[in-house]
């Protein structure tokens, strides 16, 4: 055992990834990363060869979203690295654990404007949690261990390792660093996971005192695997729950306490409950502008308990009354314990009954609504989503692009299980859906994966369906084709006096033929009477990917909507509900 083993840097890299239990990676080789692709031939790691590096990044994100494990990407230098900037930024914004390996020109050529050289570490510095240019082959195992530790602990995020070609080619003496060696190498990295006991007690007291409390939960609950304990807290205290766009599925939509999504396109009940609340228990959320609307008027009566693992989120937007830095699961467990203790000691919880009745009243009066299509009119996109939802097999994972279809998917789907919703929240990356769906399906081959996409989004990354076909990763794509950049069109209609500027995508290709050209089954739905049969057909195909184009109403808008820069109190309801606005006062 004591004999020192000599490996090339490339072999050490692949072995290090194996040691980190990487089962699958997404990538595309090129000049500088070539040495690393050779030992991959005899590795246990499955490599998915993509058609564009951005696709590899989003696949890794889809994989990470549904598994909670880090997604791994390997691409070459220069243009490949710059193509990775979008997924890295996406992962940074949505706190997705990602490890990205990029090739780099040899150390002897660094800084000479060599072929396919770019300052990868410089370019990606502000879109990664950490990045590193690895200058010696002996440093590779440590760099990989650090990368996985940093990507997956604390607030998760993307880490990039830039690997010069000669570092991959030179030899090194294999040594796999111990846990202690890794921790010692990072003296500045000590994420806080355990909440402050005094703050936890304070939080428990506030929870029991509140008459109009709301649990405001987000992506951090999923990252921390805290869904179960959050449910226990909600049920113990009978506090209604709103789930943010990143937190959809963290609390089941079919639960009587679930109010659904708040924010710019949230439902009226979720939005108003937060506005009227006297306490927001904010778990793993960051008071994003899409949730708060105009910050000065957001939840004006509410005290705030803010639980987040990132200290920089405390007070970034709204000053919390009880800030708790820590892991969402650990802290929520402690809060539940503390609440139980207080109850046991004889503290009685304030009566939340009247509040819950009030909230139920809103739910009854303000369901998410849309106008049904008249006979002969184009399909309504919301109707398509309802049919997709109702016909979807149990446990279907839903992936969305960015825009109107994403909001409708979040509003109309029922997410009853965590990790069944994948979307690009923070960065709003159009083109996310197709590759992310492939990554999700690669991670969960046992599940049906439906990507809900728009015609604009689909045209950005559709070529990854070739990857899906060649790799045998069979996904289902629903294109809600309104021949517009729909959300932009909606804003131009509402805020720019219907002056439509560069939003019409009419003349887009024949999606059915395009799907077939990529080895998928292409289907089209144009009327309500054929919709169920086509969806059933799509659901029954398991040996190929399926693309279903739904020709939908061009002018449908997403409601509710909080116009940018306005107060959440002034939410625009669906026109059919505006006359009931009084009830939200």
């Amino acid at each position: 055992m004591s004999t020192k083993e000599t490996l090339t840097g490339a072999e050490a890299l692949i072995r290090s990834l194996e040691m980190e239990n990487v089962e699958i990676m997404f990538g595309l080789p090129g000049g500088c990363i070539l040495p690393a692709y050779d030992p991959l031939l005899k590795s246990s790691i499955r490599h998915v060869l993509v058609r564009h590096e951005q696709g590899a990044g989003h696949m890794a994100e889809g994989y990470a979203h549904v598994t909670g494990r880090p997604g791994v990407v390997m691409v070459t230098s220069g243009p490949a690295a710059t193509n990775m900037v979008t997924p890295l930024c996406n992962a940074f914004m949505d706190s997705i654990p990602l490890v990205c390996i990029t090739g780099q020109v040899s150390t002897t050529a660094l800084g000479t404007d060599a072929f396919q050289e770019c300052d990868t570490v410089g370019i990606t510095r502000s879109v990664t949690k950490h990045n590193e240019l690895v200058m010696r082959p002996d440093d590779i195992p440590m760099a990989v261990r650090q990368a996985f530790l940093i990507a997956t602990t604390g607030r998760p995020g993307p880490v990039l390792l830039d690997m010069p070609k000669d570092v991959l080619q030179q030899t090194m003496t294999w040594h796999w660093p111990t846990d202690q060696e890794v921790l010692d190498s990072l003296p500045g990295y000590k994420p806080t996971t355990k909440g402050h006991p005094k703050m936890i007690k304070e939080a428990a007291k506030l929870i029991l005192e509140a008459e109009r409390p709301v649990l405001y939960i987000g992506g951090g609950v999923l990252k921390a695997h805290a869904a179960e304990i959050v449910k226990e807290l909600a049920e113990l205290t009978q506090i209604p729950v709103v789930t943010t766009l990143m937190g959809r599925g963290a609390f089941p939509d079919n639960h009587s306490l679930c109010l659904g999504m708040p924010g710019m396109h949230g439902n009226a009940t979720a939005i108003t409950a937060m506005q009227k609340a006297d306490l927001l228990i904010a778990l793993g959320v960051r008071f994003d502008d899409r949730v708060t609307g105009k910050v000065a008027t957001f939840a004006p009566y509410a005290k705030i308990i803010h639980v987040d693992i990132d200290p920089a989120e405390q007070g970034k937007v709204r000053k919390p009354d009880v800030p708790i830095v820590g892991d969402c699961r650990q802290v929520t467990e402690e809060i539940v314990k503390s609440v139980k203790e207080l109850l046991h000691e004889g503290t009685t919880q304030a009566d939340v009954g009247p509040w819950r009745s009030k909230v139920s009243g809103w739910q009854e009066k303000f369901p998410v609504a849309y106008d049904q299509a008249e006979p002969g009119e184009r399909l309504k996109p919301q109707f398509c989503l309802e049919r997709l939802r109702d016909l979807a097999p149990e446990g279907t994972i839903v992936v969305a692009g960015v825009g109107q279809h994403q909001m409708w998917a979040s509003l109309f789907w029922r997410f009853n299980e965590p990790y069944t919703w994948v979307n690009s929240g923070g960065l709003g990356t159009m083109g996310f859906a197709v590759p992310a769906a492939i990554g999700a399906k690669a991670a969960r081959p046992d599940r049906t994966v439906w990507a809900i996409d728009g015609d604009g989004c689909f045209q950005m990354t559709a070529q990854e369906l070739v990857t899906a076909t060649t790799e045998g990763i069979h996904v289902k794509i629903a294109i809600l084709n309104n021949t517009y950049l729909g959300m932009v069109r909606q804003w131009q209609e509402m805020f720019y006096g219907e002056r439509y500027s560069e939003v019409n995508l009419a003349g887009c290709p024949d999606f059915v033929k395009w799907a077939e050209a990529m080895g998928c089954v292409g289907l089209r739905v144009e009327s309500a009477d054929e919709i169920d049969a086509v969806i059933a057909q799509a659901n029954s195909i398991n040996d190929r990917s399926v693309v279903v184009e739904f020709r939908v109403d061009e002018f449908e808008k997403v409601f509710p909507m909080i116009p940018p820069g306005t107060s959440n109190d002034d939410v625009m309801l669906h026109p059919s509900q505006e006359d009931k606005r009084e009830f939200l006062k």
Binding site: V121, G122, S126, K129, L133, P187, G188, A312, Q314, K316
Partner: protein
């Protein structure tokens, strides 16, 4: 990195904060730190960086003129950088600050004597003597340097260069500690 739009950047809106940032001595760490300020549109007033007594670490002394709220956020963001080990905000009233200035002043004939006299008063050093100019160095509290520079301006400053400031906490002397305790109790 001095603000160029004001002669006295600490003038009316005196909000200067000194951050002493202990970092791992690694390539790119300065870019990471300065990038955070740039991203938020905040100007770094001065910056000094050098290895500490332990060569594995460097200390970056940053002077910024921003108000408390964004500063708190910046400090939290800075601390998220993996290479950042410790951040201390030094209260100017409770720290010793030093800066070094080198300045070349025109001083021919009779004027030379006046400049040399001024340098002596400030305990500055004459580094080089030319036919019609002198190069002088002065280290000390930044305000002392400001005063000296102001006085030299009358003679004509050919060129001047200042380092960023460095700072360390003032040492609590036994006597002073006792005195403070006496007052507060």
């Amino acid at each position: 990195m001095r603000t160029i739009n004001s002669n006295n950047p600490f003038g009316d809106s005196y909000q200067h904060h000194i951050l002493s940032v202990l970092v791992q001595n690694r390539p790119g760490v300065l870019a990471r730190v300065s990038g955070l300020f740039a991203r938020r549109g905040y100007n770094i007033f001065s910056l000094a960086v050098a290895p500490t007594e332990d060569a594995d670490y460097s200390r970056i002394t940053i002077v910024v003129d921003i108000s408390e709220t964004p500063l708190e956020q910046i400090v939290k963001q800075l601390f998220k950088l993996i290479d950042v080990v410790r951040i201390t905000e030094l209260d100017p009233r409770k720290s010793v600050e030093r800066e070094l200035m080198m300045v070349t002043v025109s001083a021919d004939g009779d004027l030379r004597g006046q400049v040399v006299e001024l340098a002596n008063i400030f305990e500055a050093k004459i580094l080089a003597v030319g036919g019609d100019s002198l190069t002088i160095s002065l280290d000390g509290h930044p305000e002392k340097l400001d005063d000296f520079e102001e006085l030299l301006r009358n003679y004509g400053i050919v060129e001047s260069q200042r380092t960023g400031r460095v700072a360390l906490p003032k040492l609590e002397r036994e006597a002073r500690t006792r005195a403070t305790k006496g007052k507060t109790s």
